[in-house]
């Protein structure tokens, strides 16, 4: 199939969305949940197949920019034209395969995971809409379509975080995600407008008004910014604000951990594998701008490194299995931004890909555990689950090895090994990201190496507490009072975790995706990194400005260091946690070490931000209401009314009601009028 069939990829999910939205509950009543689930999974699988066929015919390189399928007019102003156009190139097709491939596995998983929930159709409505929006984001051939997808996925994320909206905490988490993302969107919008203004002012780029289409915009930006690095920095940083919002980087990361309030398949698909990586996609798309601005690149590197470290530390203070994975995601996203800052944009995308494999796997595995443990998410209640959940256990082990970046250099490594190696290598080997003479990129590389060790430790902690050890800690929860036999049967599905609970392995619809993702986590990196296959597929030519970006630092034995970090971290983790839950990390949180309590509280950052924004914002709003609205606005509005009323009171005196007075006034007026004209005429000489 050639690139013009790309509309099919977009068509299936939107049709699936319409079916779910309009007919979902009816189908569920008539044919049952399995049928509805199958209808939800099918469009995504079809999209994947079509995407795969198109990808086989897609080549990278300069000719790829011509692969733009124009589906019609959209905004058609005199100087600015923005058609519905979709680009088929290695970057977009990589994302399409991740979105639809991982997406269909997660949809399949969700048919099992959500089978006991109400609102089955509503769930899949949002999920299909999400896939569609995400595809628009990556396939759109101009920044405005990207923005449409950007907002679409934001909306779906909001809807799905708040899926169980009856719980106030979930609704609040959804609001938080939406509002924090607005800050990022502000940056993205400004960056977009700056680009239009710049290109229109300099009269470069498209002759037909397609200023924001990648094929004409990127070369034009290069011309326009060549002698203007300050402008490149401004545009780059504004775009990065957008990327940081969506991809949960430091100042704006705080919505992502709360987003775990949504159902676990959502966490796996949206908040780990696809949507949160769209910031990296944006940086890859716009890499010309960042190539021209070392300062912006340095800031991206610094923020990425700091986020990676910060989130990895916080992960140690979490007891909720999904929260650990959420902070791990934030941390890994930091790695991707280190790569993009260092100039190795392909390495960022490589980590997006491998991360999609193993983080989706880890989240789905965590979902399987949560499913088996009666929706209790506290790892302090787990332990020895390998006995009950063998498939989940082994796949999760593979996922953990992948995220810990375990591998034997030169022989074989799990997926994360290759991408993390490329990122750290690029950061240490390049001098692109520098500011005021400081080699930010290299500092970020060393920090990243340390975070890699931390990653191994906290992931081992998660595995040990959940699956290993001999103590089955939920046995310590006192058994709930048993109701009558009928009652117990009635709420069988929603019983609480207690000592009598026996975890059961999950159904095939849930463990099958785990197995597929485990295979990808094991072999994906090896296959894609083979002779630099992924790099050459994504960037067949050297970068236009930076040229060849090396990922092998010449004087540092990086492979040895990172292997030591990965394996050493796992050994340390095993030493601490293999025996079970340490005494000072139990339910009594006052016995925790002060550092761990700090980490649990995100070093006070979330609290400070919440206080500053919600309460501070509330105070500002109150002050505005009192001083601006009540005094100024109301003053003007009511004042004008009062002034007219006063004038009316004054004029009222003349309305005596005596006819003769009116007649007199008419007479005086008339005589005055006539007199005036007579006078004027006599002056005019007529």
């Amino acid at each position: 199939m050639n690139y013009e069939s790309i509309w099919l990829v977009l068509l299936f999910p939107i049709v699936g969305f319409l079916i779910q939205a309009l007919l979902g509950t009816r189908i569920e009543k008539m044919l049952g949940r399995r049928a509805l689930g199958a209808i939800a999974v099918l469009p995504i699988v079809l999209s994947f197949v079509v995407g795969l066929l198109i990808t086989l015919n897609t080549k990278g390189g300069p000719e790829a920019t011509a692969n733009i399928a124009n589906l019609g007019k959209w905004i058609d102003a005199a100087n600015l034209r923005i058609p519905f156009e979709f680009i088929v190139d290695p970057l977009s097709m990589t994302m399409v395969l991740i979105i639809t491939g991982i997406g269909s596995l997660i949809h399949l998983y969700a048919t099992g995971y959500m089978s006991e929930e109400k609102d089955y159709a509503r769930f899949f409505t949002y999920m299909n809409l999400f896939i569609f929006s995400m595809l628009v984001l990556v396939l759109g051939a101009n920044l405005v379509l990207l923005f449409v997808g950007w907002e679409g996925v934001g909306l779906c994320s909001y809807l799905l975080i708040g899926f169980w909206y009856k719980d106030l905490a979930n609704a609040k988490a959804a609001n938080k995600a939406f509002i924090v993302n607005r800050i990022g969107d502000w940056g993205l919008t400004l960056g977009l407008l700056m680009i239009v203004a710049l290109l229109m002012k300099n009269q470069v780029g498209s002759s037909d008004g397609r200023y924001l289409s990648y094929d004409s915009m990127l070369p034009a930006l290069r011309t326009a910014l060549e002698h203007n690095p300050g402008m490149a920095t401004v545009i780059g940083l504004l775009l990065f604000v957008g990327a940081a919002g969506k991809s949960a980087q430091f100042p704006l990361y705080l919505w992502l951990p709360d987003a775990m309030a949504g159902p676990t398949p959502v966490s796996a698909l949206i908040h780990a594998a696809t949507m949160v990586t769209s910031g990296v996609v944006l940086l890859n798309r716009m890499h010309v701008v960042f190539e021209m601005s070392p300062v912006a690149s340095a800031i991206i590197c610094a923020i990425g490194a700091f986020t990676a470290l910060f989130a990895a530390l916080i992960a140690f203070g979490q007891t909720d299995i999904k929260k650990v994975l959420a902070y791990s995601t934030v941390s890994q996203l930091g790695f991707m931004f280190i790569a993009c800052g260092a100039g190795a944009y392909w390495a960022g995308m490589f980590h997006v890909t491998t991360h999609a494999f193993f983080k989706a796997l880890l989240f789905l595995g965590a979902g399987a555990v949560i499913h088996a443990m009666a929706h209790n998410q506290d790892m302090r209640n787990y332990g020895n689950l390998r006995k009950y959940l063998p498939i989940t256990f082994w796949t999760m082990i593979l996922g953990t090895l992948a995220i810990c970046a375990v591998g034997v250099p030169g022989v074989f490594g799990f997926a994360g090994f290759y991408s993390k190696e490329a990122i750290l290598g690029a950061a240490l080997a390049n001098t692109h990201a520098q500011m005021e003479g400081i080699q930010v990129g290299q500092i970020a590389g060393w920090v990243g190496l340390g975070v890699a060790a931390l990653t191994s430790i906290y992931m081992t902690r998660l595995t040990c507490l959940t699956f290993l050890g001999t103590e089955e800690r939920w046995r310590n929860i006192p058994a709930a009072d048993h109701h009558g036999h009928d009652d117990a049967h009635a709420d069988e599905h929603h019983h609480e975790l207690d000592a009598n609970h026996t975890p059961k392995e999950v159904p095939p619809s849930m463990w099958f995706p785990l197995v597929v993702l485990a295979l990808l986590s094991v072999g994906g990196g090896f296959v894609l990194a083979n002779n630099g296959a992924f790099e050459h597929w994504l960037y067949p030519n050297e970068l236009p400005i930076l040229g060849k970006v090396s990922t092998e630092p010449s004087n540092i034995p990086l492979a040895m260091y990172s292997t030591i970090a990965a394996v050493g971290g796992i050994i340390l983790g095993l030493a601490f946690y293999l025996k079970g839950l340490p005494k000072n990390q139990g339910f009594d949180e006052s016995a925790w070490s002060p550092l761990r309590r700090l980490e649990r509280d995100q070093f006070g950052y979330d609290h400070a931000m919440t206080v500053a924004s919600v309460e501070g914002g509330g105070d500002i709003a109150n002050a505005l209401w009192k001083w601006f609205d009540n005094l100024l606005v109301d003053g003007v509005v009511e004042g004008s009314g009062k002034v007219s009323a006063g004038i009316g009171l004054l004029l009222k005196r003349f309305q005596t009601g005596y006819i003769r007075l009116y007649a007199l006034m008419m007479l005086v007026g008339f005589v005055g009028f006539i007199g005036y004209f007579a006078y004027m005429l006599s002056q005019g000489g007529h």
Binding site: L651, T656, G657, I659, Y662, A663, L664
Partner: protein
């Protein structure tokens, strides 16, 4: 013409009109006010007739034009009289109605237009 000058007609007309105006403003009885209005209308009529006559006299050569100018002024007087008659009929009806309503037709008591 006949030795009565134009100024005498206009002066009489002005006098009648001023009398009417002052009457309308100072009198309280609506009937008298009506009479004053008639006075004003008639002063206007007198002006019309005067000018018609003098116009005719100014065109002794053209008989048709002479007749037309005279007719125009006199027709206007007929119209004014018709309108005045209609006005009196309606006005007296209103006065009767007010009298039935309030048992008085004193203008100073009818200050319904007061703001």
């Amino acid at each position: 013409m006949n030795g009565v000058p134009l100024g005498a007609y206009i002066g009489l007309s002005l006098f009648m009109f001023t009398t009417g105006v002052v009457g309308v403003i100072i009198r309280r009885n609506p009937i008298v006010i009506f009479m004053c209005i008639e006075l004003m209308l008639n002063s206007v009529n007198l002006t019309f007739l005067t000018f018609a006559r003098y116009q005719m006299a100014s065109k002794p050569d053209d008989r048709i034009a002479m007749q037309n100018s005279m007719m125009a002024g006199q027709m206007m007087v007929i119209f004014v009289m018709a309108v005045a008659a209609a006005e009196v009929a309606v006005g007296l009806g209103i006065i009767m109605a007010i009298y039935r309503l309030r048992d008085s037709v004193d203008i100073d008591e009818l200050n319904l237009l007061r703001g």
